[in-house]
Amino acid sequence: MYRIVGSHLHSLKRHGSSRFASTSVVKQSSGGLFGWLLGGKSSQLPPLNVPLPGITFPPPLPDFVEPSKTKVTTLPNGIKIASETSASPASSVGLYIDCGSIYETPASSGASHLLERMAFKSTTNRSHLRLVREVESIGGNVSASASREQMCYTYDAFKTYVPEMIEVLIDSVRNPAFFDWEVKEQLQKINAEIAEVSDNPQGLLLEALHSAGYSGALAKPLMAPQSAIHRLDSSILEEFIAENYTAPRMVLAASGVEHDELVSIAEPLLSDLPTVKRSEEPKSVYVGGDYRCQADSDKTHVALAFEVPGGWYEEKTAIIVTVLQMLMGGGGSFSAGGPGKGMHSRLYLRILNNYHQIKSFSAFNSIYNHSGLFGIHATTIPNFASKAVDLAAAELLEVATPGQVTQEQLDRAKQVTKSAVLMNLESRVVASEDIGRQILTYGERKPIEHFLKDLEAITLNDISSTAKKIISSPLTMASWGDVIHVPSYESVSQKFFSK
């Protein structure tokens, strides 16, 4: 029996090699290289440690390639197209939209989350099958993400394929078909996601802080609520898109693309988008509040937060808050990575190194156009929760007290912020995202020097006065897990008012 198989294989092998020869003839006409490579047996390619002869190399790049400026074109209907070039063979294109969960109405609540999941599905021009195969055939990556104020769709691939990328990206954002079966399938997936929410207590607390701390637009959930599964359907999505995906609220941003090429390909696809005068951005008021949820967990997760006044539009404050977060730092009691993960930040030195009951303790911020949250997130064993909350409150009060933060700590935090920003911008994906989001927020891309200059100018006084301003807003508290030992809202809030 085995012999038969063996002999079959022999004939198959011979068959294979004869087919092989015929394809190599075809290929020979397309390029001499392949003829050389495949002439006869391809197994005779040299091993990988020996260079392959006969390769044509493009001339090497010079060591110094002048970094390009960001060019922006605004089409007559108000949509902005922005790009910068790069030396890398890959490019990243993204479509950014000034839309998100803050624009949802009670009827469309959860639409942004569903839109994120419905991204790059069937459009009126191409089926989902075709779209998936188009992306696969060039080896690209597509992704979408929804946040409270911005939607982003990105496509990442070789520069050779820029026209393909732009076409597919714009088609899938502009002309989604929203078939009922596709919407249903994604709603099922969202349902499964909701069921697994307890795997991510930190994300859950962040949602809770928004819903408890704000009244108005920012209080709306980003993660679709359970009730949305049965309420949302394709017509709600269509309405939401028609209302919000309008030309003046969109930016097409790219890194690694010639600006003229980008505009010439994208303009015919975008120029007929309606110019709807943008409606007023929904307002939110920060009010503070408390959220606690007893859950089956052997840990307590608790977060304290306050409002960052002004949000991104108060640029100075936003930068100070970023530095403040680096200054306080923190992290997990056991985490991978060597020096550089913030081991000399205040929370790491003062809390994590001293209290082994605390599993994680870190400062966070979450900034929006007109407001933002800043606070501390902690995970502890349950009977230490009360002490952990006291420690978090004390830390927040400490940074707001002049003289408590040393110049050395501030310099370190500034340096860490600076290098984190510059290191992130090494990546073309991040660069493209930065272009898109900055233009959505500020209408222009501010050069990095501008940010670095503001960063350098921060003083100890700025830190303590900003921190003081932050903690003078009402407290928002959220806890999840074994919350029995979490102190009452009033008792924690009291600590901040007595000072």
Binding site: T23, N175, S419
Partner: protein, 530 residues
Amino acid sequence: MAFRRILSAAVRRRSAAAAAAAGNAREASTAVAAGSGVITPDVTPVRPQVMMYDRIAEAVNARLRRLEQPDPRFLRYASPVPAHADHTAILAAPETRVTTLPNGLRVATESSLAARTATVGVWIDAGSRYETEEAAGVAHFVEHMLFKGTGKRSASQLEQEIEDIGGHLNAYTSREQTTYYAKILDKDVPRALEILADILQGSKLEQDRIERERDVILREMEEVEGQSEEVIFDHLHATAFQYTSLGRPILGSADNVRSITKKDLQEYIATHYTAPRMVITAAGAVKHDDIVKMATKLFDKLPTDPTTTSMLVAKQPASFTGSEVRIIDDDMPLAQFAVAFNGASWVDPDSIALMVMQSMLGSWNKSAGGGKHMGSELVQRAAINDIAESIMAFNTNYKDTGLFGVYAVAKPDCLDDLAFAIMQEISKLSYRVTEEDVIRARNQLKASIQLHLDGSTAVVEDIGRQLLIYGRRIPIPELFARIDAVDAGTVKRVANRFIFDQDIAIAAMGPIQGLPDYNWFRRRTYMLRY
């Protein structure tokens, strides 16, 4: 009678739909009632003019009608049929410069001076497979200890120095390589290189630090044990390369971690951290000549033992044993298993074809967008039949061998279907391969290689790894030419070499009572076709 009622209902539905489309429902529905001549007993006084399902059907149809006239503006460029494209024009890259110092140490850099950040690192041709059995785990222990203080700086001084400049210092150990690297701002490159030189040549390995680090490593072991993917691959190596050093886990055994002595650490460093087995790499805002000059001055105390890893590997080759390990645990919610063939070594020219084959088999998990429509037939089968939570083809290379196969996670009741799909798709590579699938896989492979090189750390990693395994950095155009040389015929030939009727290694964990036995898998490495 019953038949007549069904008939009349059918008639009514059809005509009602027609009426709904015509927009005049009332007339039509009365017409039906008259026409059929049957008085249905359950007629309610006020009948809805259009039934709910008619409205739904109409809405769906309206949606579908929009597809009838696709907008040609959006269909000009992209094509779902994969085609070969020539990327030569865009593949210009900064030169990779390599200098070998008198002591055998190599320095390799790629400059992009416009950047403001850089990564410098040391790549060492040493890893857990070169340990002795008694001191297994020492390679990883050394990696931990090098951050714990040198003659010049204590552990906390080291930490503070890095944190003060906003840098990152990191390290990892694999079976064949160990890496230390720092990511910093341009002006801090000399300092980072000095720190790397200091920890590699001047670490004190203090006894009390060693004791403290044992607990940290034991705790890290617990963490790794919680990551089921790591556990499966450790078991897979343990069974596939049993009785050879490649089969041991990187972290070593808990007993060894408790008993490793300072002498073991010193011996390992002295034998394996030698100049000819190291590469200093830098990318980003760095100049080659500066790095060479600094490296010559800083790395002057390294041992220059000319023993190469090829000699060590020849002395202790890894041999693949067809075998399996199964850990039944019915309390786990999901089952997972990996099936592997003996793959190619790093330099084997067929290793490129195996990469293409890995890309053909693809990888997928339940939350991925494209699922059912993806090109890989294995992924299609898993997604459409809903028989897996995630699937991933893997292709790991070592100096003298490799592992090629598929790792999957699934609910316990679909293991047999999943195992069948996996084995059929793998063995099919020896028989039926379409040119289209190969071209798609080639394009995806090329893109994933290039798209990954996003930032100086990825570049440094690429340079360091390639210099250690190939002795050179393969220029991207050459690598792409080698990938493009793989066609359907090559895939079949390589599959015949590595897959057809070859032994396999299986590692499985969880509720795996339903996973077919070893012989079942082994039998499906070939097909019987008469």
